[in-house]
Amino acid sequence: MNSRYLPLVITAFVLALLLGAGGFFFTNFISFRVIINLFGDNAFVGVTAVGMTFVIISGGIDLSVASVIAFTTIFIAQTVNNGMHPLVSMALVLILGLLFGAIQGWFISYFNLPPFLVTLAGMFFARGVGFIINDISVAIKHPFYSETIRGLAIPVAQVGRAVVRIPFTAQCLIFFILGGTLLAAYSRFGRNVYAIGSNETSARLMGVPVDQIKIWVYALSGFCATAAGCVVTFYMQSGNSSSFVGLEMDAIAAAVIGGTLLTGGVGWVAGTLMGVLILGSIQSLITFQGSLNNWWAKIFIGTLLFLFISVQQLLNRRLKGR
């Protein structure tokens, strides 16, 4: 096996270990329902993390995503309650997200600014705009939300009398993961993103349109974040401009645990999915255990993240040492 995929294998192993431990200690942990919920409940993190994966592979970072999600939810809530159809509202906000990301990308590439700073500014900006729209939690009242979305859930199994369905949120996650994988592994855009993250100077000399690609990478991340915002409204049925503070770090953590190198050039969308599922199953394990404080999840995630980056560094060093 190519040793390049070792981080991915380790991630898969850890995920299996977590699920196995869950199944061993708690009956019903490895059930269809729990697994599907794992996908559904973490869909918005996953969708955000897909965009983040591209950004990190390109050697950048996007801190604005959580604010963009919050902005999206309040934007949809406010416009829908004022009579706009949810689909129109979502289409509009997706375009806004794309543009917002593209503008950040433009600043990053043409002024050669550090992505950290540009997206930090973007983070404050988007959060602020959200609060301008409305500073309280707004419930979304529309039949599209209360009926149509629920109807989109795909029934997959019958357990006793209850029907297990794959919720639309989980479907969104799967769609983004597949799309992201295709984009990363089978498109020139994807190859160029890897090239830029691995060595920007070389990429430029090899004819990669570095500036355009960077703009598209941040546009993609903005788009994914707004899409994640839409997914959030599907199960929250509300918008809140103060929600999800710090979620960008979860997305970064998911990508890193999934084997994406923060220094760029290496990463897999499939790994990111596993990263998201690892974060989610730690949360589920804590919930199942019942007596542990919820903050223990953070402690586990912190420890895990630390282990992963250490292992990655060791692997890197070994590869370089040859």
């Binding site: 190519n2 390049r4 295709l182 592994a185 089978y186 498109s187 020139r188 190859r191 160029n192 890897y194 090239a195 993250g197 691995s198 060595n199 100077t201 070389s202 990429a203 430029r204 000399l205 090899m206 004819g207 990669v208 050039g265 290496v266 590869l319 370089k320 040859r322």
Partner: protein, 516 residues
């Protein structure tokens, strides 16, 4: 094969603020020919290549390709016109595979989806054209490949884009001899296939090994274009350094030193070497003696210094100080053995610009003491004042930030830094580079004073005059190998140049290959 000229550069001019990097330089390349571009550092080789490949816009002149005038605007643009460049530090993507690197940006697609199998086939075809004796694994990550393989991959990439002109910019700098030989074989193969090759190098042997034509640049000006077989080595060297052969022959040594025999050996090296930096080398350095290291750029001068000072530790051979075996594997350890080194790049690795003269002077002392033992400020002041006076460092006060001093005075501060720790051996890498004539004389005077006091010094300078003037013995390097050692009456600029230019026949080079 008809030798039709298809690349023609005429009157290329390029100015940077304060420097005229290229002054009306002309250059041409023919199909099926290797054309070497020679010149010392700063001659304008790289600038010419960068203008040709669209990295810099030219300020004047014309570039003609196949009879048409072209204006390359970017490397990408030059590539589409058939000009492909392989740089010394290979410009490929380390984390992608060999095949991905060969086809990056030109992958076969069907409805936007990359057809990896076809990409792999094309990469394999490109590699095959190199006619290698071994296989290159297309699935290997590029960073896992040796520099030599990476260069071959870069050439394969050029073949895949169907380049008509291949520019190799110092391709052999980080290759060992066997690898370089393989590269030459590839160059000859491609030449037979009708490719035009521009070969930029400062290794004279290599120029003669593969080139048909030689163009020499000096100080941004064209010295001339020659047929390789009609240009003797000595003449090439004299054209590169800007002295005609008669002049070179007239040069005589100016200072004679008292005999150095019978002096105590301080440092001795036996077969000391490091792969890719310097081939195993023997030498001894004595008390009260200045030994020079001479050679063209890239001949291994600074590499030898870095080896001694543990910057890039040796991977073979033995080193002794006062008869005791040592292994300097870091500058800190080298300092404990009593070594000091004045680095080549004063601004980058010499001074700490924002610290004061005093702090810069006591830096090596402090480093030797370790971070926890502070030098009492009274003592630090004393030391600083003492050296400012002794070396006549011109500074308003010892608390002045060193960046505000002139180059010569900065250099004196760094020498003071080393003198403060009383080194047995002081390595001086280009001690007078970039400082004015007066300060130069002072530094040279200081070198002789230290010699008289019994210190052992190793002097590296690209100015042969300076090496000859100050050293009692000179080790001559060429292509990372010690060629000979000159002393006494044999030590003249002319003799050094002759040695550098002499044909390498029974070189130690071949032996070292087998050692690896």
């Amino acid at each position: 094969m008809e030798n039709d000229t298809f690349l023609e550069l005429k009157g290329i001019t390029k100015a940077f603020p304060g420097v005229l990097a290229l002054d009306k330089v002309s250059f041409s390349a023919k199909r099926g020919e290797v054309h070497a571009l020679c010149g010392e550092n700063g001659a304008g080789k790289s600038t010419l290549i960068k203008v040709l490949t669209g990295v810099y816009p030219g300020d004047g002149g014309k570039i003609g390709l196949d009879g048409q005038t072209i204006v390359p605007t970017s490397p990408r643009n030059a590539e589409t016109k058939g000009i492909s460049t392989v740089y010394q530090e290979v410009n490929l993507i380390p984390h992608l595979t060999v095949a991905e690197n060969i086809c990056l940006g030109r992958e076969d697609r069907l409805a936007g989806v990359i057809r990896w199998r076809r990409v792999w086939k094309r990469a394999a075809a490109a590699i095959k054209r190199l006619d290698l004796k071994f296989d290159i694994n297309l699935d290997a990550q590029l960073s896992d490949c040796s520099i030599a393989i990476q260069q071959m991959v870069a050439i394969a990439r050029a073949l895949d884009i169907d380049a008509k002109l291949l520019i190799l910019d110092e391709p052999t700098s980080s290759l060992d001899d066997a690898e370089a030989e393989e590269l030459f074989r590839i160059m000859r193969t491609l030449r037979e296939q009708g490719m035009g090759i521009v070969f930029v190098t400062h290794f004279l042997d290599q120029v003669y090994r593969v080139s048909d034509h030689i163009t020499v640049l000096r100080n941004g000006e064209l010295v001339g274009e020659f047929t390789a077989v009609e240009l003797p080595r000595l003449e090439l060297v004299s054209k590169m350094v800007g002295k005609n052969v008669e002049e070179v022959k007239k040069l005589e040594k100016r200072v004679t030193f008292t005999s150095v025999s019978g002096r105590k050996t301080v440092v001795s090296a036996r077969r000391l070497g490091r792969k890719g930096a310097i081939n195993p080398i023997d030498f001894t350095l004595n008390e009260g003696e200045v030994v020079g290291l001479a050679g063209l750029l890239g001949s291994g001068r600074s590499e030898t210094a870095n080896l001694l000072f543990g910057v890039d530790p040796a991977d073979s051979g033995e080193l002794e100080i006062d008869g005791r075996r040592i292994r300097p594997d870091s500058p800190a350890r080298a300092m404990r053995y009593g070594f000091g080194m004045l680095t080549e790049d004063r601004k980058f690795s010499g001074i700490v610009p924002n610290l004061s003269v005093r702090e810069n002077i006591i830096l090596a002392m402090q480093a030797k003491l370790g971070p926890w033992r502070k030098i009492p400020s009274r003592r630090a002041n004393e030391i600083a004042d003492q050296f400012i006076k002794a070396l006549d460092i011109k500074t308003p006060s010892r608390e002045q930030q060193i960046k505000n001093l002139s180059g010569g005075n900065q250099q004196k501060v760094i020498i003071a830094r080393w003198l403060a720790v009383h080194p047995r051996l002081l390595i001086l890498d280009e001690p007078t580079r970039g400082i004015d004539v007066g300060a130069k004389a002072e530094i040279e005077g200081l070198i002789q004073k230290l010699r008289e006091e019994g210190m052992s010094l190793l002097l590296i300078s690209s100015e042969l005059e300076e090496v000859v003037r100050n050293s009692s013995r000179v080790i001559v390097l060429r292509d990372r190998t010690k060629i000979t050692e000159l002393s006494g009456d044999n030590l003249t600029e002319r003799s050094i140049l002759e040695v550098i230019a002499s044909q390498a026949k029974d070189d130690a080079t071949k032996e070292t290959l087998k050692c690896e």
